[in-house]
């Protein structure tokens, strides 16, 4: 029979990373080019959020042109008919190849369908590949601060002191704006009448839920981003015009960036998050809704740079749950409840669903002690 070691029960760690809600911390942002290029900054350079720090050229789109078949010759016979050779520039409509027979009575030419450079001429397939002009790609610094590190030809790490809040899910990419709290409490809903032209370019903080109508109004008035506790699945689907299948987001072009901090449905924003955002009302925030919950988790974020007069809490890896650790329950029947770890029994326990799992006993704010699976809690990282 398996032997249980009782002495370890109170120290049993559970690795359940929580979302960060921090008033002041050092934020490092890696800004990297998709392929190697040129980096314009050096270590300790001050940067604004829109400073272009690196640039590269992505190779242009290739166009495959079936020269042999268009000329009506065998693939291996095309070299004498080519007017361009590998490496030559060619304009759109300019002839790549020309064929003439019967003393010029039969003439066939193959014009390039794009402007570019001849990349290859194949005598096996009779195809010519013309590559379009390279596409320049710029990377800005996204957050204001200073350059901490430069990766030659790849990018740089920008560092700043900021409040840092992670959401649970978001849509839309990087944006900026001033924090504007439009609701009184974290339980309030964000409805259209709470939005007006003053909200243009702002990062709007709502409470428990944003309605579909409010989202539409927000786009109309030009809101940069919305940060809210929850959203109904149906509202999100209507707003994005598609059902979210796998959580890989950030590329949506829906007119604003949306971040939910708690989950789907009507979910009051946690007091910690709400109060923190409220205390920074009027500050500029850098917001990104990109979320990826698979193969490299990426959570949406709100970064509020500030001088950082308070003590900076170190960003360290959570060592796990121990009695006293503040946690949030993330599944029914106590979804959203906040408490502290009371006990971590090592023995498996039977749930209402009849599953036998390891559990954690949690003392809620009202003193009630509830038992939930260890998998159903997350650590509140303050």
């Amino acid at each position: 029979m398996p032997k249980k070691t009782k002495e370890t029960s109170e120290e049993a760690h559970a690795y359940t990373p929580g979302l960060k809600v921090k008033r002041s911390m050092t934020v490092d942002k890696l800004r990297r080019l998709p392929i190697q290029g040129q980096v314009f900054v050096k270590v300790n350079d001050p940067v604004e959020w829109n400073t272009v720090i690196a640039r590269t050229q992505i190779s242009g789109e290739p166009e495959i042109i079936k020269v042999a078949s268009l000329l009506g010759v065998e693939a291996e016979d095309i070299p004498p008919f080519m007017l361009k050779k590998v490496g030559d520039k060619v304009a759109k409509g300019e002839n790549l190849a020309f064929y003439s027979a019967l003393f010029g009575l039969i003439k066939k030419s193959v014009p390039s369908t794009i402007e570019g450079t001849v990349e290859s001429i194949s005598e096996i397939t009779g195809q010519v590949i013309v590559r379009g002009a390279p596409v320049p790609v710029d990377i800005d610094s996204y957050i204001p601060g200073k350059v901490k590190e430069v990766m030659p030809r790849e990018g740089a790490v920008i560092q700043t002191n900021a409040a840092f809040i992670q959401g649970i899910f978001g849509i839309g990419g990087e944006t900026h704006g001033k924090i504007y709290v439009t609701v009184e409490t974290p339980e309030d809903e964000l409805t259209p009448e709470k939005l007006n032209s003053d909200c243009k370019g702002e990062v709007i903080v709502g409470g428990s839920r944003v309605t579909f109508e409010a989202l539409k109004k927000a786009v109309e008035v030009g809101v940069s981003a919305i940060v809210v506790g929850g959203i109904r699945h149906q509202d999100l689907t209507e707003f994005t015009h598609e059902e979210i299948g796998v959580a890989i987001t950030g590329q949506e072009e829906v007119g604003l960036t949306l971040i939910i901090t708690e989950g789907f449905g009507k979910m009051a924003m946690s007091y910690n998050t709400f109060n923190l955002l409220k205390s920074f009302e009027g500050y500029n925030a850098c917001v990104n809704g990109a979320t990826q919950i698979r193969a490299g988790v990426l959570r949406p974020e709100i970064i509020i740079p500030h001088p950082g007069t308070e003590e900076i809490t170190k960003d360290k890896l959570s060592s796990g749950m121990i009695p006293g650790t503040p946690i949030r329950i993330i599944r029914q029947p106590y979804f959203g409840a906040i408490g502290i770890v009371h006990r971590l029994p090592v023995e498996l326990q039977i749930l209402e669903s009849e599953s036998a799992v390891r559990v954690v006993e949690i003392k809620l704010g009202n003193g009630e002690v509830v038992t939930v699976p260890r998998a159903n809690v997350e650590i509140i990282e303050e």
């Binding site: 398996p2 032997k3 249980k4 070691t5 370890t8 049993a12 690795y15 359940t16 990373p17 392929i35 190697q36 190779s59 789109e61 290739p62 495959i64 990349e119 290859s120 194949s122 096996i124 397939t125 009779g126 195809q127 590949i129 590559r131 649970i168 899910f169 109904r232 699945h233 149906q234 059902e243 979210i244 299948g245 796998v246 959580a247 989950g263 789907f264 449905g265 979320t291 919950i293 698979r294 193969a295 490299g296 988790v297 990426l298 890896l317 959570s318 993330i330 599944r331 029914q332 029947p333 090592v346 749930l351 209402e352 669903s353 009849e354 599953s355 799992v357 699976p373 998998a375 159903n376």
Partner: protein, 611 residues
């Protein structure tokens, strides 16, 4: 190459892990009275993602749980992996692992013709344990520029390129190769490393392929996947994919370089381990098997029919990361149809979205468990639908049709028919951890609709991948544990196909038990019953269907078969095929309550309260 620290006959303790996309599962085996058995399991969340980004942390946490439960020390104090070998007090003699974390092995395949070489390449990649992101072929309906855009947007771990028969025309194969070259594909992990491409096409084109695909590409050439049209030869490509997976892909995933040093046997993709386990079942019982690994991110379906092994993977059908994609593909209504109580559609959708964003949570309430079981049915149904598009006859080969075939149009694409399946086997978190063994039996039955007499097996605590990788170096130990501790005999399903009216007689089943006693049951249309027959022994069954129902020998024809008992028993299913649920919502719920209650699917009191 495997590097064993002790001869296998001297081993006493073996540890195997599976680094899944959601959970890392450790399984601890030991030799007891000369026989290899499973001892204990430990699990912990996988730590491939930020902020940890080191899979070995999750492995250590899972192994630490094993240590806590057994009091047997396994981890070296210096954090350098396991203590190997066992020194009479602590440690293990062998450590091995499978992995699907970090997205598993993601591949793109290309071939000349969609239904011929491209399809063969697809099967080879899937058989190697890959997730196939796209299949490119000359006739896939897309313009060259669209294919190029697609290849550029994908960042596969590897590409498998097939095309042409040996000695056949090469121009079109070279066109596909030029297309890939023009797209300049980039690898998913590590911007600086060369993308591996496996060429398994017309062998006469090797010099030209080498000439074309040498810059920035790690090219490997293997034997043609279709040397002649009538023959599919996927093994060399599959082997090459496995080797490159270790060499190029795993070494770039967070923490894997360290994990590779800890293991005595090369790390294997989880689905490859599962596939080996499914083949072990088919070869041991000499029967046709269809199996499923219902995971958090993907659903893998395996079939071994008349000795032919095929695997399919539905990359975005799963119970956690991909749970909302099941909702998207199946439609929320199809999930709702399995829920036997009133629940708002929006509430179900929000719960599933919440599961997707917090994928490691588990159902605590019965209501939540039933919602997940409903999603599982749809993931399985769609998974099999996908499998049937992969498990097809070889196209391009002349098939002789009989007059009857022409009337029936019976030469269908897929040969996976439930009537020819003898065994269904399931694994994956939801199925293996189901609180009652009858639950996976019924869930799989609802989704796959077995016909006739079908044995149902279940992975006891999810260790098929572990035993699959172990079997590569120590088959006897793997098989013994598999047979004694892993393969739970849930029971047998006896199901009649055909349609009828409510209350119409469907079949009479007479079971002669090992002690000579007989049990007879008459079943009417719409009924399902469970006969408790828990012994690991067999009974003789005589099944007499009514004239419009078929239990394997044709409509109205009797069947006599040996049936196997199991932890759930023998399920008699007279609900007909295809399964039909009442359209009226209240009648539908009543029907489900009747079925779920008849099978004692859930705890009685809590279930009554819910419905």
């Amino acid at each position: 190459m495997a590097h064993l620290r002790k001869p296998v006959e001297e081993m006493q303790f073996i540890l195997a892990t599976d680094v899944g996309s959601t959970t890392t599962k450790a399984r601890f085996f030991h030799k007891r009275d000369g026989e290899w058995r499973f001892w204990v399991a430990g699990e912990a969340p996988t730590t491939v993602e930020a902020p940890y980004e080191d899979v070995t942390m999750g492995v250590q946490n899972a192994v630490r749980e094993v240590e806590e439960l057994t009091g047997h020390r396994l981890l070296s104090k210096e954090g350098a992996g396991m203590i190997i070998p066992y020194d009479g007090e602590k440690g293990v003699d062998l450590y091995c692992t499978t992995s699907s974390a970090g997205g598993g092995l993601q591949m793109m395949v290309a071939g000349l013709i969609k239904t011929m070489t491209a399809e063969s390449a697809n099967r080879a990649a899937l058989g190697a344990g890959a997730i196939v992101m796209d299949v490119i072929s000359r006739d896939d309906g897309r313009q060259p520029y669209q294919k190029i855009q697609r290849i550029r947007s994908l960042r596969p771990d590897m590409i498998l390129l097939a095309g042409g028969t040996d000695g056949g025309a090469g121009q079109h194969v070279m066109e596909i190769a030029e297309l890939i070259k023009a797209a300049e594909p980039k690898a998913r992990l590590g911007a600086s490393y060369e993308l591996p491409i496996v060429y398994a096409g017309n062998k006469n084109l090797r010099p030209q392929i080498q000439e074309l695909l040498h810059d920035g590409i790690a090219l490997t050439m293997v034997d043609n996947i279709r040397p002649v049209l009538e023959q599919e030869n996927t093994e060399p490509a599959r082997r090459a994919v496995h080797e490159l997976f270790m060499e190029h892909v795993m070494s770039h995933a967070p923490g894997y370089t360290k994990l590779m040093k800890w293991t005595d046997v090369p790390i294997m993709p989880t689905p490859a381990g599962e596939g080996m386990a499914m083949q072990l079942i088919a070869s041991s019982f000499k029967m046709n098997v269809i199996g499923v690994g219902l995971g958090g991110a993907t659903t893998n379906v395996y079939s071994v029919i008349d000795g032919r092994f095929v695997r399919s993977v539905s990359a975005n059908l799963g119970m956690s990361y991909s749970v909302t994609n099941v909702m998207k593909e199946a439609g929320i209504r199809n999930i709702m149809r399995w829920i036997p109580f009133k629940l708002d559609e929006e509430e179900v959708a929000s719960r599933l979205m919440n599961k997707m964003i917090r994928p490691t949570t588990i159902p605590q309430t019965l209501e939540d468990l039933i919602v997940e079981h409903s999603v599982a049915r749809e993931a399985l149904r769609l998974g099999l639908q996908h499998h049937r598009t992969i498990a097809t006859r070889l196209k391009g080969v002349q098939v002789q049709r009989t007059i009857a075939d022409m009337f029936d149009q019976a030469v269908e694409d897929s040969y996976v028919k439930m009537a020819v399946i003898d065994i269904i086997a399931g694994t994956g978190g939801l199925l293996s951890h189901a609180p009652r063994r009858v639950q996976p039996m019924f869930i799989v039955s609802d989704a796959w609709l077995p016909e006739g007499v079908t044995r149902m097996f279940q992975d006891s605590v999810f260790m098929m991948p572990h035993l699959g990788v172990l079997s590569t170096v120590y088959r006897d130990a793997a098989w013994n544990i598999f047979d004694k501790d892993c393969l739970v005999r849930i029971g047998t399903s006896i199901a009649a196909s055909g349609l009828g009216k409510e209350g119409e007689h469907v079949m009479k089943v007479e079971l002669t038990m090992p002690d000579g006693q007989t049990v007879a049951e008459d079943l009417n249309y719409g009924e399902v019953k469970l006969i408790e027959f828990h012994e690991a022994s067999e009974a003789k069954a005589k099944i007499d269907p009514s004239k419009s129902f078929d239990v394997g020998a044709g409509p109205g024809k009797s069947v006599e078969k040996t049936v196997m008992g199991g932890v759930a028993g023998i399920m008699l299913d007279a609900r007909g095929r295809p399964l039909q649920l009442p359209e009226d919502d209240s009648a539908r719920r009543d029907t489900l309550v009747k079925w779920y209650t008849a099978l004692k699917l859930y705890p009685e009191d809590a279930f009554k309260e819910l419905v």
